[in-house]
Each structure stands twice: as structure tokens, then as C-alpha cells.
């Protein structure tokens, strides 16, 4: 029997659950986790990919039902193109993780954190995400969604010895809960009109504008809370670093995408025709988020925190694309709307790939270099060449440089924004390019940030002893990174085919596709028309390869001479200073200093200069240390006030419980009198 999407889907979910089941015994037999659980995860991811491919290659949307949930409404499942796409994303990253995991969790086998929990929750987490994207009724969606949140919460709290991780986990769970409630309300609005919780029914209702706006607003907040739009992102830079790195990869690479999926499903599928103001709101949110995220990433020196802030930035970019799409759809310019949607989807895919690649690389560094702080790294390229190579590819992709994948999606976003000229409203025509400029700024700042990361972490000399003796990661971990890096390159070099697939999704979702984009064959990506704009990634790659080829030739020709006398190595000139020590290198904080100076108001920076004096001579410092930390402004302006308010309210309320029996009796007495008075 040929595999059907349904079969693959059930297999995927089943394998994920199975992997969590086998991990129950992992505390006693760690090998179960390292071998069994991760192998099952791999199987699950392959099944998911198969389901994705089978669905996207022309199978009808599969609709199913699980005998779970409410007695009168069992779990509805629907695997349409959009769901399949996100299922595929989940599959790709999970596959990489299943290669990466066995090597990575080895470092936990000696700690007293329970491996069993790690395995169980990872399986549940992935199963939850897979269920979210295929759920076709509000109840199943919410259950799967919360399953995802709770499982990942346990993973964030995995190393709960550190108070910081506990705090992060608490914050994460709290915001996940609030977000879920908002989403539930937004579905509630729809269900109130549809009279039914199934997405099918919800999609066919036409809401009154005010209620549609309400549902949209609730959805934006609810899903945004999970996706991490500013200022609802505060949990993200706390939680992602706290989790084990392969989990961070899943959370940052996939879970945020699941939130994006929810938003797309709600806005483009269920809510019907959008209002132009929605688009503007989303566009504004996206722009703010992207710049905010990258600015905060720039001042971080904890590698995983930095990557987490970059996730915020990329979510912003995705939302910019979605905002453009909404604007064009509301204006009836469906072609460009679809283009924006495709740009957003494309970037979703890309971010999933390179962000998980980077997190896995960070994981390799953390495991073998025992460092998360950039200021202590350096020279890793000499110690772990493969990781360094793949990490470089990740950096190039996330910095939106051709011919890698990040560039394509940003280019498509720009192309969509360029079509603003076709809009009637002059305001929109003026606003959209500005948001595009913001996008350009954040892209360039991202490049800056990753020059900093790569330069400080991998180049130069090691700054600490442990980093100096770091080892290359195990084969599986390298393989996982290689896989993702290859995908980054492929999706960057063959955008035409990818866009072809994506336009199938939009066709299925909105009824429109982009035919022009692929009209010129695989070599040319021409989103609107050949003479308007065109991009041929393969030729760019060819150019780069030519350059590399030139280097290869020189290398080859000079080889014989090198054998007799190798390329002479000298101390660096360094304008005559020297000899060079690792402490003379430009540090991460130093690198970002001009940016800090230019965008001063964006942070609240705490600088700290510690100088240890020579015990003999009190005026002579023996060691100087410079610590810098940037507070997230959103705390100061958003979270702390709320927290204070709740606290004071609780204190006020506490007053009613005086401990005096007579007061309590008086409450009862007066309640009685008031009620009696009410009814007469």
C-alpha cells in the first residue's frame, strides 16, 4: 500500500509519543534516551516530512478525526497545504535535532537533572507542535497548543538548580497561559458567531466588523505572545537560553513558527476579508519588533541570549511580510498580497533552518568549550573547524547575504514593499517604504551583529583555557549542523522551485498564487515580471564559486613550492605594537560600542568597572574587569508596572481578612442586609 499523508501524519505523531514513552526509563538506562528516543524522533520527523511532501505534491487535503476531546466534538484533524508546510518545517528541524541530541545529552548523564524528563517532554513537545498545525477545531488546537507550552516549560525548567532558570520558566509559563487564554477568547468570538468550534464552521461565518477586529486583536496578542512580538517578547530571551541547546533550537526554530502558523490560520483563513488597518498594525508591530530585537541582540554577550533576541528580530521580519500581505489583500491587490504572504512563509522556513543551525552550533560550543559568554571565547575555528564552517554558513544566512536563503526572503519582502506604488492611499505608499527601510536597517545590523559573533567567538585567539582546549563536536552533532547548513544553501540557491511550492500553499489558502515568479524557469526568480525585478541565485553562487575556484587554483599552483618552504608564519604586524596577547583582542562589547553610542536611548545600560588592586601597592591595579549589561526596556515600561499593580491590589484585598471573628460576622450581616435591600 502506498503511504498516504494520513498514514504519515499518524506515524509522525505516534513516533513522537513513542519516543517520550521509551524515555520514561531513561533515568535508569540513559542509553534508551540516547539511542531509542532520538531514533524514534528521527523516524517521526521523516514521517512528518513525508506527509508534507505527499500533501504538497498534489494530494487532496486530508481530513480526519481522533476519538478524543468533547463528547459531541471529537478532535478534528485537517492536513492542508499550509499545515503540511509547517509540518515539514517541524520535520526538518526535528531531524537535525535527532542527529544532534545523542551526542549532546551525553553531557547531562552525569548531572543530577533527570534525563527521563528531558526525553519525555521532548517527545510530548514535538507531538504537541505537530498536533497544533493539523488541529482543525478550536478545542483540539488549544489542547495541542497547551501541550506544546507545558512540555517546553518543563524543558526550560530542566536545569532548575539555577534560580535564573526557575524564574525564566515561571515567566514563560505565565505568559504562555495568558497568551493561550487570549487565543481562546479570539476563537470564542468566532465560535460565538459560528455556533461551532470547528475551523470549517468558523471559516464560513461573516462577523460584524467590530467583532472581527476584536478577534483579530486578541489573536494578534495571543499568538504574538508566543511568537515574541515586542513588547510581549520578554519571556523569550529568558527562556530560550535556559533550555538545553537542542531544545532552544526547537523552541526558537519551530515553536515560534507554530505561533506564526496560528496567526496565519486565524487571519488569512478564518477571519475573512481583512481591514487595511490590520495590515498597518501588523506592519508597525513587525518593524518595531525587528529593530528592537536586533538592537538588543547587538548588546548581548551571552551567545544563546543573543540568538534568542535575533529570533525576535526575525519574527518581526515575518510580521512585516504578513502586514504587507494584509494591506494588499484588503486593497484587493491579491497578486502582491500573495507575494507578501509567500515572502513571510519563505522567511519562516529560512529562520527555522538557520536559527536552529546557529543554536545547535552554540550547543556544540557550550558542550565542548564550556562557555556561553562571548567574551571568554575566541579562536574556536582552530579547535572545532566543522562547527566553525557550518556556523559561518548560518551567520551568512541570517545576515541576509546572497546566495543564502535569508537573502531571498528579505528580497521578496522588499519586492512586495516596492509595489506600494500601486496602492491608492498616499499614506500607505509613504509608510510602506519606510518600514522597508527599517527592514534594511535591521538586516544590516544583523550582519554587524554576526560579524561580532563570528569574529569574537571563532576567530582570533582563545580567551580562556577551557576554550583553548575545546574539542570538535561528535560526528552526529556535526552531521546535524551540516544537514541544516546544506538546506540553508539549497533553499537559497533554488528559490524558484521553493516559491513554486509556496504558491501552491497560498493557492490552497487564499485561492491565489504567483504564476509570474516561476515563469522564467528554475534559473530566474521573477516575482512580478522579468523586466521589473529578477534574481538568479545560481549565477551569484557561480560567481562566488569562481572566486573560490581562483583561490583553489592559486593554492594548487603554489603547493609544490609550499612543500619545500611552507607559507611563512610571522607575528602580526599590528602597526608595530605587540607581541600580541589574547587580551588585546577586540571584545564583543567593544565591537558593539559604536552602536551603543549611536542608539543610546534604546537600552538602559549598566556598566561596571571592577579593579582589583595590588595588595602591596594600593594605587596599582592588578586586574581590571569591565562588565556591561543591558536591561530590556519593556520590563521598565510594561511588566514591572503590571506586577506592582497586582501586588498592591493583593495587599489591599488582604486587609479584608482582619482575623477578627466579629468583622467576619459583620460581613455576613451586611451582605444579608444589602441583598434584602436589593430585592425590595
Amino acid at each position: 500500500m502506498p503511504p498516504t499523508p494520513a498514514l504519515c501524519l499518524y506515524l509522525a505523531i505516534g513516533f513522537a509519543l513513542a519516543s517520550s514513552v521509551v524515555s520514561f526509563a531513561a533515568d535508569r538506562f540513559p542509553v534508551l534516551l540516547r539511542v531509542g528516543s532520538f531514533a524514534l524522533l528521527g523516524a517521526s520527523s521523516i514521517a512528518a516530512l513525508a506527509a508534507c511532501i505527499l500533501t504538497l505534491t498534489g494530494n487532496l487535503p486530508f481530513t480526519g478525526e481522533l476519538p478524543l476531546g468533547l463528547p459531541w466534538l471529537h478532535w478534528q484533524l485537517r492536513l492542508d497545504a499550509l499545515a503540511a508546510f509547517f509540518l515539514g518545517i517541524i520535520g526538518m528541524v526535528t531531524l537535525a535535532v535527532s542527529f544532534f541530541g545523542p551526542g549532546y545529552v551525553r553531557s547531562y548523564t552525569h548531572g543530577h537533572s533527570s534525563l527521563g524528563i528531558l526525553g519525555v517532554m521532548t517527545g510530548l513537545f514535538i507531538a504537541g507542535m505537530q498536533l497544533v498545525v493539523v488541529a482543525a477545531d478550536a478545542f483540539a488546537f488549544m489542547v495541542a497548543w497547551e501541550l506544546m507550552s507545558v512540555a517546553s516549560y518543563f524543558l526550560v525548567a530542566f536545569e532548575h538548580e539555577e534560580a535564573a532558570n526557575r524564574r525564566a520558566a515561571f515567566l514563560y509559563l505565565l505568559m504562555a497561559q495568558i497568551g493561550a487564554m487570549l487565543i481562546l477568547l479570539s476563537f470564542g468570538v468566532l465560535a460565538g458567531f459560528a455556533g461551532d468550534f470547528t475551523f470549517a464552521a468558523m471559516g464560513n461565518t461573516n462577523l460584524t466588523p467590530i467583532w472581527a477586529a476584536t478577534a483579530f486583536g486578541l489573536g494578534l496578542l495571543g499568538f504574538g505572545m508566543k511568537a515574541g512580538i515586542v513588547p510581549l517578547h520578554a519571556w523569550l530571551p529568558e527562556a530560550h537560553p535556559a533550555a538545553p541547546s537542542h531544545i532552544s533550537a526547537l523552541m526558537s526554530g519551530v515553536m515560534l513558527k507554530v505561533a506564526v502558523y496560528g496567526f496565519i490560520r486565524l487571519v488569512f483563513d478564518l477571519l475573512g476579508h481583512p481591514h487595511w488597518s490590520w495590515g498597518v498594525i501588523v506592519l508597525a508591530v513587525g518593524s518595531v519588533t525587528s529593530v528592537y530585537g536586533v538592537l538588543y541582540a547587538l548588546v548581548q554577550h551571552d551567545l544563546k541570549r543573543l540568538l534568542a533576541y535575533h529570533s525576535v528580530e526575525n519574527i518581526g521580519i515575518i510580521y512585516i511580510g504578513l502586514g504587507l500581505a494584509l494591506i494588499f489583500f484588503s486593497a484587493g491587490q491579491t497578486t502582491f498580497g500573495v507575494l507578501g504572504l509567500i515572502a513571510a512563509l519563505y522567511h519562516t522556513l529560512n529562520h527555522a533552518l538557520f536559527k536552529s543551525l546557529l543554536f545547535l552550533g552554540a550547543g556544540a560550543i557550550v558542550q565542548h568549550g564550556h562557555e556561553r559568554d562571548l567574551e571568554h571565547m575566541g579562536g574556536l575555528i582552530h579547535r572545532m573547524p566543522w562547527t566553525a564552517f557550518f556556523f559561518l554558513i548560518g551567520c551568512l544566512s541570517i545576515s541576509a547575504l546572497p546566495p543564502f536563503n535569508g537573502f531571498v526572503s528579505e528580497w521578496l519582502t522588499f519586492q512586495t514593499a516596492l509595489q506600494a506604488t500601486t496602492l491608492e492611499s498616499g499614506v500607505l505608499r509613504a509608510v510602506i517604504p519606510i518600514s522597508a527601510a527599517v527592514l534594511a536597517l535591521s538586516g544590516a545590523l544583523a550582519a554587524t551583529c554576526f560579524v561580532k559573533v563570528y569574529g569574537v567567538a571563532f576567530l582570533g585567539q582563545a580567551r580562556t583555557r577551557r576554550v583553548r582546549h575545546a574539542r570538535e563536536a561528535s560526528a552526529g552533532m556535526v552531521l546535524a549542523q551540516g544537514l541544516l547548513a546544506t538546506l540553508c544553501l539549497l533553499f537559497g540557491v533554488f528559490p524558484t522551485n521553493t516559491v513554486g511550492f509556496l504558491s501552491k500553499i497560498t493557492l490552497d489558502l487564499t485561492g491565489y498564487g504567483v504564476s509570474a515568479a516561476t515563469s522564467q524557469g528554475w534559473l530566474w526568480l521573477t516575482p512580478i515580471a522579468p523586466e521589473v525585478a529578477s534574481y538568479s541565485a545560481p549565477l551569484i553562487l557561480l560567481g562566488v564559486l569562481t572566486a573560490l575556484g581562483a583561490w583553489a587554483c592559486v593554492y594548487f599552483f603554489t603547493r609544490r613550492r609550499r612543500r619545500t618552504q611552507p607559507v611563512p608564519r610571522r607575528d602580526p604586524w599590528d602597526c608595530g605594537f605587540g607581541p600580541l596577547s589574547s587580551r588585546m583582542q577586540y571584545s564583543a562589547s567593544a565591537f558593539a560600542m559604536p552602536i551603543r553610542h549611536i542608539f543610546r536611548p534604546a537600552w538602559r545600560i549598566h556598566e561596571e568597572k571592577i579593579r582589583e588592586m595590588d595588595p602591596q601597592l594600593a594605587t596599582r591595579p592588578v586586574q581590571l574587569r569591565y562588565l556591561i549589561h543591558a536591561d530590556d526596556l519593556s520590563w521598565q515600561f510594561f511588566y514591572v508596572p503590571v506586577e506592582r499593580f497586582v501586588q498592591s491590589a493583593a495587599r489591599q484585598v488582604g486587609r479584608i481578612q482582619t482575623g477578627h471573628l466579629r468583622h467576619y460576622l459583620a460581613y455576613s450581616f451586611f451582605t444579608l442586609i444589602v441583598l434584602l435591600w436589593l430585592i425590595t
Binding site: G69, Q177, S668
Partner: protein, 492 residues
Amino acid sequence: MIALAVTLLMPALTALVLAFVRPAPVGTRINMSATTAGFAASVWLAWNVLTQGGIHGAQFQVDAFNVYLIVLTSFVGMTTSIFSGPYMAHELELRRVTPRRMRLYHASFQGFMFTMLLSLSTNNLGVLWVALEGATLATVLLVSLYRTPESIEAAWKYFILCGVGIAQALFGTILLYFAAARVVPDPEQALQWSVLYAHAAQLEPVVVGIAFIFLLIGYGTKVGLVPLHNWLPDAHSEGPTPMSAVLSGLLLNVALYAIIRIKMITDGALASGVAHDPHLAGKLMMGFGLLSFMIAGLFLHRQRDIKRLFSYSSIEHMGLMTFAFGLGGPLATFGALLHMTVHSLTKSAIFVTVGHASQIAGTQKIEHIRGLVRTQPVVGWGLLVGSIAIAGFPPFGVFTSEFLLLSATMKSWPWLAVPLLAGLAVAFAGLFRHLHSMVFGPSPAGQQPIPLNPVPVALHLAFVLWLGLSIPAFLARWFDEATRLISGSGLL
């Protein structure tokens, strides 16, 4: 009928027996076996009701609504007694209780079970009142079991507040009787719920209105509605933990059950709308429910005693249920019934684990309970999972009921969803801000695991999980019949 007799007499007789059994272990064993037998009997009863329809006698009436509560009650009673075995033994070792008090404890436990079952199964509002008063009397000496000044204070407050409340309820009952006496020919029947329900339409609305207010305040005190709730945290925190478990898991439910029965009559009487708004009862309940819900959520934030913490969470959830029943309509009622079940299961499980936790740490002070997951994973995870369940995370049943509840609210009173949402968030934050430090983190030096029986907690949570994943058909039909009884129309 026999099943019912067994179900009722079992605890009554056992209470008498236990009052005279001196050695504590024997008492414990008898207690356990009696509750187990009672549970079996109740299941038998439920089976009868399911197959041959309910019992509608003059004095007793068992229909879909209360039979499942009866089963629930005897089930929680059973598991709690199983838990209380090793727990009380440990307390005995610590010399916190004497063998004599153990006797008192066992007898009162059974007496309490008896009053609960009686008030659930009786058809006579007067007897219902008597039984609820009896529940107070049976438990008040348990609250002061440890004879510490705090426990005595708590018991005194419990006694006076509930006594006064229950007295108000009696006044309401008398008023009902007064109203019924002139429409029901035989005064002997005038307090029978079924009769009143049948004649509800002819009852004199003004009197019924006043009566309802008295009953609401009276039984509401036992439900723990703000601002009548003040006895609840004290009693829960100072009494022995099994008692807190049954108080939270059963007593509150039964009191709410009484209110709902009354509401059904009141709605019938006010339906004409001549004297009052026909939805007076519902609106009052919604008001009280929402108030309790919000206030309790805020109280959670500043707790220092773990048992007080969870008793406030009980208040919060009772408020939610009251709100739901006040909301009326099949969806909300179904949700509320489900919530009743899952809440009492989860909350009693939580109190059981809390009992273990405080025994491990040797105190109930939150800031001294640390790193349970490390010291005794069973307890730590039990507490964590229980709290996650009670906080309304799927796939646990509480989520299902809250989901139904929220969507019902969105249907009829959309704007009330906002305070509900805020309340849930606040309560959640209040609960977990304390929980985290207790469960996670390194465990303090010298903290030792204790002997315990993990079965009750596991059983309860497993049930809650099951209900959350899929409500079994027979149970769904049950709930649906009950919904039909209460709200007039079903869902299935």
C-alpha cells in the same frame, strides 16, 4: 433502594463502631475498609440508577445529578482514608495527636461521610439542612484536633461562622416551607424538593426571593463565597490534612449542590417575573461567583502557608463553578458539573501531596519547603502536576471545563470574559510564583523522604487526565442528564 441504604448506613454504623475502637491501627483499617465498601455500594447504586432509572421516594431522591456526586463523594472519601492511614500514623509518631484523638478523628471522619451522603441523597430540604449542620458539627472538632491555639481559633471561627450561616439557611428553609405550605396540600410534603419543584410556579415569589437570599448566604458560607469565606482558609490550614482534603473535595461541592437545588426551585417560582427579575437567582450567583473568583485569585499572591494557598485556590474554583451555574444554559452547566468533578478530584489530590510535602519539610511555611523534586520525586511531581492540572492546563480535565465555561461566557455575556481571563491569569501567577520555589531548586540539607502511599494521588490525577483527554460515553451521558435536569436542555 438497598444500595442506597447500604451506602448511607455503612458510614453511620462505622462511625458508631469507631467511636469505641481504642487501638489506632485497627481504627485506621476499619476506616479504610468501610470507605472502600461504601464506595462499592455507591457504585452499585449508580449502576442501579443507570439501569433502572433514579429513586424518587418521599424522603430520598436519587437522580443523575446527585448520584454521580454520591459516587464522587464516596470515591474521594475512600482515597482520602487510604492516604490518611500512613499520614495519621506519622502524626501519631510525631506525637501531634493522641490515640484518643485518633478515635475521635476516625469517628468524625465516618460521621462526616454520612452527613455528606445524606445531604446528597435526601429529598427533604429540612433534612438537607440538618445534614449540613451535622457536617459542621462532625468536622469542627477535627479542625481543633491538634489543640494548638491556631487550630482552636480556626475551629471556633469555623463553628460560629458556619453555625450562623447555616442558621440563616434554616430561616430560608422555613420561609420556603411557609411559601409552600399554602400551595402544597399536605404540610408533611411541603419540604420535599420534588414536590416543591413540581409546584414551583405557584410559590409566592416575594417569599421565595427572601428565602433564596437567606439560603444563598447560608449555604454560600459553606461554599466559601467571598465575603463569607473567612472560615475556609483557617479551617483548611489548621486541621489535619485528610480533613482539608475532604473539606475542599466534598463539603464545598455538597453545599454548592444544595444551592443549585434551591436555585432550581427559585427559578421556577420567579419565572413569572411579577415580583422580581426572573433570573435573580442566577445573577446573584454570578455576582458572588465572580467576586469570589477575583478576590481569591488576589489572595493567592501573598500566602505564606501552603495549605492556605490551596484553600484559596479552592475558593477561586468554587467561585468559578457558582458563576457557571448562575450563568445557566447547557454549555455552562455541563462545564460546571465537569468542573465540580475534576476540581474535587484534583484538589483532594493536591491536599494529599501538600500533606506529604509539609511532613517532608516539617512545616507548612512556604519559604521552608524547598526542592521537593530532589528529595522525593513522587511528592514533587505530584504537587507540580496537580497544580498544573488545577491551573487549567490541558490535557487535564480542568482545562476542558474552563474551556466550555469561557466559550459559554463568550456566547451570552462576552464582556464578562475579560474579568474571567484576568482572574485566571492573576490566580495562575499567584499559584505558581510560590509553587516553583517549593518544587524546584536544590533541596535543603537533611531533608528526608517519608513513607507514603502514592496510589491515591496517582489515581485522582489519572482520572483527571482521562476526563481531559476524552470524557467516557457513560459519564458524558450522565453529565448530560444532569445538565438536562438543571438547565432544561442537554447537549448531546
